[in-house]
């Protein structure tokens, strides 16, 4: 799973978002470290839709621009995201065992 797709799934994990909001969410969460471009995002959205990991919402908030499309993560998408997260966690664990990372777990406040 590419980092971009992982970030998109993360962004959608607890809220339904439209394309531009996904870009903003990812940028905010990574403090500007990951910036999706419009074309990358929509190409990825297309793949995610094809794979059934997300779906497009028929209804949208009333006050919003009617042209905007909202996306919601599916159960399959959530499962795939979790699997990837576990894989990453395992990798991090291995790195820790070899002391690439400090032992103490920092929790964010």
């Amino acid at each position: 799973m590419s980092p971009q797709v992982f970030h998109i799934l993360l962004a959608l994990s607890d809220q339904d978002l439209h394309g531009y909001a996904i870009i903003q969410d990812v940028a905010a969460r990574t403090a500007g470290g990951v910036r999706l471009t419009a074309s990358t995002l929509y190409a990825a959205l297309k793949r995610l839709l094809d794979d059934g990991w997300i779906r497009e919402l028929a209804a949208r908030p009333d006050a919003d621009d009617p042209r905007r499309r909202y996306y919601r993560i599916t159960a399959a998408g959530r499962a795939a995201g979790r699997a990837e997260a576990e894989r990453l966690a395992q990798l991090a664990e291995m790195a820790r065992a070899k002391r690439w990372l400090p032992k103490a777990r920092r929790t964010r406040s």
């Binding site: 419009a38 074309s39 190409a43 959205l45 497009e56 042209r67 499309r69």
Partner: protein, 881 residues
């Protein structure tokens, strides 16, 4: 600026992403483009231009990478993407070549796009009216065949009789003095039939437009105002509806405001009042209404024209002599909206920029050909390894297309900028504002088409040449011997001749325009503009009805002005040379062979000191002066042309002219004036016949004041005193159009100056491009023949011989190009012939000068590479093998 750039980038992004709709979720194209726009806005908000450029870079690279990546399935696109990647790499390896080509194309395509956008708006786009193709203009036709404005009585008859139209409306331009504290302001106004706005298809933005009741004779005055005036004077206050406007002499109630950016914001009128006629007031003798109509369903312009002609004939029969020879006709509204000289202007410009682009393309073709020759070995290796010739050809064409599309992409920005520059130089009134607005989707489509066309134009010949090269010879000769291929040399020569010929057409055209313009500026106008300042006064009809009181007013004002220190002379006249309206008047001269025949000449109403103020001169007799009052015998001055044409060699002074009209007036000729260039410096050498009558004997409400001081600076200094003198007589009178006569002369040449300078700029550009092309082609030729030159020198040829030979070869080609271009120029110069003043399209001196100029440039361009050849060291060249 930055918002415009972002909008343009958004439009491009939209178009490009639409090409690959299979890459996005179905139907998400608009969403994607909106997201891009939002990102641009963020970037601008954060870091302005730098942020926007960074955003473009990020998005552009990412989009390009995505498009070049072979999608999961698609096969045919895959090959193309492969070619594109190869081309991209090849071009990056040779940045100099790439930059030169892209810059040439960006400039050429950009300027073409800008001019296209003007041509398109002017000639092809729909007029901004509802159902514009059904709108027509109805005009009277003067016995001379010229279209003429319409007499009110005729308009009323047409409205009653004509069946071809669903609506007919008239418009009369007027000017009202608005009094709301401070100095009175002159508003340009229009009186229109009550059905006018409905016919055009415009309804009010606030309030309403006219209803039939507003057109009743006794209805109170209702006014519709322009959005511009609403904005400027009333701060967009909706309460303006119902407000009272105090004009000098009458008041009106505002009933509505016209919509913003409607066509009515582009014409000058700020106030519209109903045009109402009591049948008794309507005249057939003066013609001043503009009449517009909407064709009834199913009626064609031809049918309407036939009906109007028969109606005009019927009206003439009923009215006998008055309208003898007059008729009426119908024209599509669009034809009248666009002036013939504007059309010619944009077509000539379009042709000129097209030529510049062609020269650029030929240039690039030459460069591409050299590049292909240099890469012949690479191509041969590819073919030897099994690439089909079609594949090689395609790869080379794709490279050209990539260059062209990149050039066009930048060209859009150049075009946007060129349009702004163009709009700031184009004389006001020549082109409608919407023609200069901005590049729209039609212009962008044109750019894309142009990019593909130019890419193919300069790409196919070298590609074909590259793909057909022999594999064996190319590989064996180490890639150098092949460059001397006879076919390539011939192609190069052909390109050189072509671009010299194309450039010659433009240079010759520009030379003709320049010389014509210089001749125009040296014309003696027949009067002396130095130190003369002018201004327009319109006495309101309501207070000076039918000109009553006007002579007293002007006498008083002129007397006060003449007392101002520094004023040498002062006069008032219906229209000054180089501007204003000319009125025709019927007359006959007693005691001549044609004394029974009514003729027509321009008539001007003047006060005393007219001849002295404008520095004109009399050939015989005296000028009209202040003693020619209403009580004195009627007098008239004529010009030389009038005397020659209607009186002949006999003395003119003392004869009687009978002025036609409702009642005949007999006037005695007191003086003959020398001819003046009334319409402009470009007037034909034969002036039009003119009569000058005394304003005191024939008063007019609207006159232009002309005041003569020692020089222009002195004339500007006395202006405040002049204004005070006028307001001392009438406090409510607005003073319009205060300009120096010498500025008026300058303005009258604006269009010619514009045509001349822009065509010259294009000619210089084309000439430069052609010289660069000649230089490149000759350098290539010299390079290819290095070995031959080395052998010749080894065998005893001097550097001088080599120089002569090499320059000679180049010059022969240049001369051929010049000859062909000259031929084409003589034919094409007819297009600009109407612009030429005292200059024939085939003016031999000018064509010779253009040939010499471009020939000299061509000589220099072929001499530089030749000199390099002459300096070759034979030993080095021969050893290089």
């Amino acid at each position: 600026m930055i918002a415009g750039a972002a909008r343009l980038a958004g439009a491009i992004f939209r178009r490009v992403t639409a090409l690959a709709s299979d890459r996005w979720p179905p139907g998400a194209g608009a969403d994607l483009a909106d997201t891009f726009d939002s990102l641009q806005r963020d970037a601008i908000a954060r870091r302005g231009w730098r942020g926007l450029l960074a955003c473009w870079y990020r998005e552009g690279v990412s989009l390009l990478a995505l498009l070049l990546r072979t999608p999961r399935k698609a096969a045919p696109m895959g090959f193309f993407a492969h070619d594109l990647r190869d081309a991209w790499r090849g071009l990056i390896r040779t940045p100099g070549y790439t930059l030169l080509v892209v810059a040439t194309l960006a400039l050429g395509i950009g300027i073409n796009t800008a001019i296209f956008s003007v041509v398109d708006a002017l000639l092809f786009k729909a007029l901004p009216y509802a159902d514009p193709d059904r709108l027509v203009r109805i005009t009277e036709v003067h016995p001379s065949g010229n279209r003429n404005t319409v007499a009110p009585a005729n308009f009323l008859d047409w409205q009653r009789m004509a069946r071809s139209f669903s609506a007919i409306a008239a418009r009369q331009n007027a000017s009202f003095a608005l009094l709301d504290g401070g100095d009175p302001i002159e508003l340009i106004a229009a009186r229109v039939s009550v059905g006018y706005f409905d016919m055009v298809g415009t309804s009010a933005a606030v309030g309403r437009t006219f209803q039939p009741a507003d057109g009743d004779l006794n209805a109170p005055c209702a006014a519709v105002i322009s959005h511009r005036l609403w904005n400027r004077r009333f701060a967009r206050d909706p309460a303006v509806v119902g407000a009272t406007l105090h004009f000098s002499g009458f008041t009106c109630t505002v009933i509505g405001v016209l919509p913003e950016a409607s066509v009515f914001d582009r014409v000058l009128s700020d106030v519209y009042t109903p045009l109402v006629y009591a049948p008794a007031e309507a005249t057939r003798l003066s013609h001043f209404l503009g009449v517009t109509a909407r064709l009834a369903p199913g009626v064609t312009v031809e049918q309407a024209r036939a009906e109007m002609k028969s109606i005009a004939d019927r009206i003439n029969e009923e009215n006998g002599e008055v309208l003898r020879g007059w008729s009426a006709t119908v024209d599509p509204f669009r034809d009248l909206m666009v002036r013939a000289d504007s059309k010619r202007l944009v077509w000539v410009l379009f042709g000129a920029v097209g030529l510049v682009l062609l020269v650029g393309c030929v240039n690039i073709a030459g460069l591409a050909l050299s590049r292909t020759i240099a890469r012949q070995r690479e191509v041969a290796v590819r073919v030897a390894l099994g690439a089909g010739r079609w594949r090689v050809f395609r790869a080379l064409v794709v490279e050209s297309l990539l260059l062209a599309v990149t050039g066009a992409g930048l060209g859009i920005f150049v075009g946007q900028w060129a349009l702004v520059v163009f709009a700031s130089y184009v004389p006001p009134g020549t082109l409608p504002a919407e023609a200069l607005a901005s590049l729209d989707s039609r212009a962008l489509t044109f750019t894309v088409a142009l990019a593909i066309a130019t890419g193919l134009l300069f790409g196919t010949v070298p590609a074909w040449q590259g793909a057909r090269g022999g594999v064996n010879s190319a590989l064996r000769s180490g890639g150098r011997g092949a460059s001397g291929s006879r076919m390539s040399a011939r192609l190069h020569s052909l390109l050189l001749v072509t671009e010299v010929a194309l450039a010659m057409v433009l240079v010759a055209g520009a030379a003709l325009l320049v010389v014509s313009f210089l001749r125009l500026t040296r014309v003696d106008p027949g009067f002396d503009p130095n130190g003369v300042v002018t201004m327009r006064l319109s006495l309101p009809q309501t207070r000076y009805k039918d000109g009553i009181g006007a002579p007293a007013f002007y006498n008083d004002v002129l007397a006060r002005i003449r007392r101002i220190p520094g004023v040498e002379h002062a006069t008032a006249v219906t229209s000054l040379p180089l501007g204003g309206w000319l009125y025709g008047q019927q007359f006959r001269v007693e005691g001549t062979a044609t004394e029974k025949v009514w003729n027509s000449a321009h008539i001007q109403h003047v006060t005393g000191e007219y001849v002295a103020t404008l520095g004109m001169s009399l050939r015989e007799g005296r000028a009209i002066d202040d003693s020619d009052t209403a009580a004195a015998p009627g007098v008239v001055m004529i010009n030389e042309t009038f005397a020659r044409r209607f009186i002949g060699d006999q003395p003119a002074v003392g004869r009687t002219i009978v002025i036609g009209g409702a009642t005949e007036t007999r006037l005695q000729i007191v003086g003959v004036m020398r001819d003046v260039k009334t319409g402009g410096l470009g007037d034909p050498p034969l002036a039009t016949p003119e009569m000058y009558v005394s304003h005191q004997q024939a008063p007019m409400p609207i006159l232009v004041l002309a005041i003569k001081a020692r020089d222009d600076a002195a004339a500007t200094r006395i202006l405040p005193d002049v204004r005070a003198a006028i307001h001392a007589v009438d406090r409510e009178l607005p003073i319009g159009n205060q300009v120096l006569m010498s500025d008026l002369i300058g303005t009258s040449l604006t269009l010619q100056r514009f045509q001349t300078s822009i065509v010259s700029a294009f000619a210089v550009l084309a000439g430069l491009l052609a010289c660069i092309g000649v230089y490149a082609v000759r350098s290539q030729a010299v390079h290819a023949r290095q070995r031959e030159v080395g052998i010749r020198m080894a065998l005893g040829a001097t550097p001088r011989d080599v120089l002569t030979m090499t320059v000679g070869q180049g010059l022969r080609l240049v001369a051929l190009g010049l000859a062909i271009g000259l031929g084409a120029a003589v034919v094409l110069a007819r297009v600009i012939e109407p612009w030429l003043f005292n200059t024939r399209a085939a003016d031999p001196a000018m064509l010779a000068a253009a040939t010499v100029a471009l020939g000299a440039a061509g000589l220099l361009a072929s001499w530089l590479p030749a000199r390099r050849a002459a300096r070759l060291d034979p030993l080095t060249t021969l050893r290089a093998d």
